[in-house]
Subunit: 239 residues, 2 copies
DNA sequence: CAACAATGAGAGCACCGCTCTTGTTTTTTC
DNA sequence: GAAAAAACAAGAGCGGTGCTCTCATTGTTG
């Protein structure tokens, strides 16, 4: 399947990669709305119409960049999870969140591409949902491990309204049937709130408000962990 | 100061308003990145160059829309606060959050304008910070009232790291010197997290994940209230 | 009334996304 | 190995964009 068949196919892969690379460079320099196919082509020494052999439209190029960004961020989160194997769940939660933040701080424009305003009229194709769910699935993995170890406390807060419980139950069936329903509901909220913190920091809302951004982030995601039932003290029991 | 001096000045105010109105219509129809000065001018029966007498650039038009949007959202939040005078702080908190959500759901593109990816290269001018702070100040008002009434519990979570405490202390001096520092820190986090919930809902991240969006939002902002020390049970004491 | 500043109209510049046609090169098929 | 098919690059061109410039007109003010 991944066998490269000939010079043409090899060239196509290389050119496609070069286009995305140059597009990412322009993204970082100018932002998504100023990404120009003509400029990308010019920089690559080709004519603009040639670029349409590789991406049928500007939106398709953006979609490819979106998928790449989701994948890169997800890989970062998964790497953080793997790196902290054996640590306490609360610490792993914080580590995963931090890795996401580090990735976003290094590539703010790619972050904006996936968590900023959606391009108008643009419906995210199904190809994006897999890559997009890698970060939340990583957070779920942390919680499942804590639950398996018996260190997961009940999430604080009022009991769930019926429709929320229904949503959470459906999600639990997909993500971790053994998890208590309120934990799943709290997880979804924490997931959104994590990116609220990131977006505010990256989009400038914290300017002149929060200066110690890293410390503040750690504090906030620690609190988020508490919201899903992960307590700082709990440690994985030795086998 | 606000006396209208002549026909010319009156016309200028009307034309400026008409331009913004038409621009908002296009914003709703096409999104910020497809907002076109020429199309606005065309719809208004003027030539595109005439529009530059009113806004020196497309970005300036966007800035005006941004300020209007912040102001409208802030007014909505303040109205919700006024409407619930005398209610328990926890209920007022939820009411303010709901009013912000309702405003955003009715004008998703204006929401995206102020809480989505910033226009690249675009630095928010100082004019925006006043209108932008109306919503957070409304949330602060709820918490201050609860504190004055003595119903504000200590926010849960680990003690604050020194730099976070310093930021929060500086903010407390501006926003409410009587408030405990950890409450101020939790407030900033809740503020960001509130818009995380909103952005995920509005930008499509909850598609196929959360269906009962209103109920879920209420649940989540209720938990957010708990994070700043507002408990559902506490009621304002009768005078 | 005259001088002035604000406004509108039009042409034009450089750029954009995208399409179509033309000629070339690689791959596939017989 | 030659012919047919597919992939590709290049160029011209269409209708659109933000923005600037010039020039005539119109309301304001001394």
């Amino acid at each position: 399947m991944s066998v490269i068949r000939g010079a043409r196919e090899r060239a196509r892969i290389e050119v496609t990669a070069a286009i995305k690379e140059e597009a990412r460079r322009q993204l970082a320099a100018e932002g998504a709305s100023r990404l120009s196919l003509r400029a990308v082509a010019r920089e690559l020494g080709m004519v603009s119409s040639a670029l349409y052999r590789y991406f049928p439209s500007r939106d398709e190029l953006l979609t490819a960049l979106i998928i790449d960004a989701y994948d890169a961020m997800g890989a970062e989160a998964e790497a953080a999870l793997a790196r902290t194997a054996g640590d306490a769940p609360h610490a792993r939660w914080v580590a995963v969140c931090r890795s996401v933040r580090d990735w976003a701080l290094a590539r703010p424009h790619e972050y904006a591409l996936i968590y900023g305003s959606p391009v108008p009229g643009y419906i995210a194709p199904m190809d994006t949902v897999g890559p997009a769910s890698r970060v939340p699935l990583t957070l779920v993995a942390v919680v499942r491990e804590a639950h398996a170890a018996g260190t997961l406390g009940p999430p604080p807060g009022s009991p769930l309204a019926a429709p929320v419980r229904a949503d959470a139950a459906r999600l639990a069936a997909e993500l971790g049937p053994e998890l208590p329903i309120p934990v799943v509901a709290a997880l979804v909220g924490s997931w959104a709130q994590l990116f609220g913190l990131l977006s505010f920091e990256l989009f400038g809302q914290f300017n002149r408000v929060v200066e110690a951004r890293g410390a503040f982030f750690d504090q906030a995601v620690g609190a988020l962990a508490g919201q899903v039932g992960l307590s700082p003290a709990a440690v994985l029991p030795a086998e």
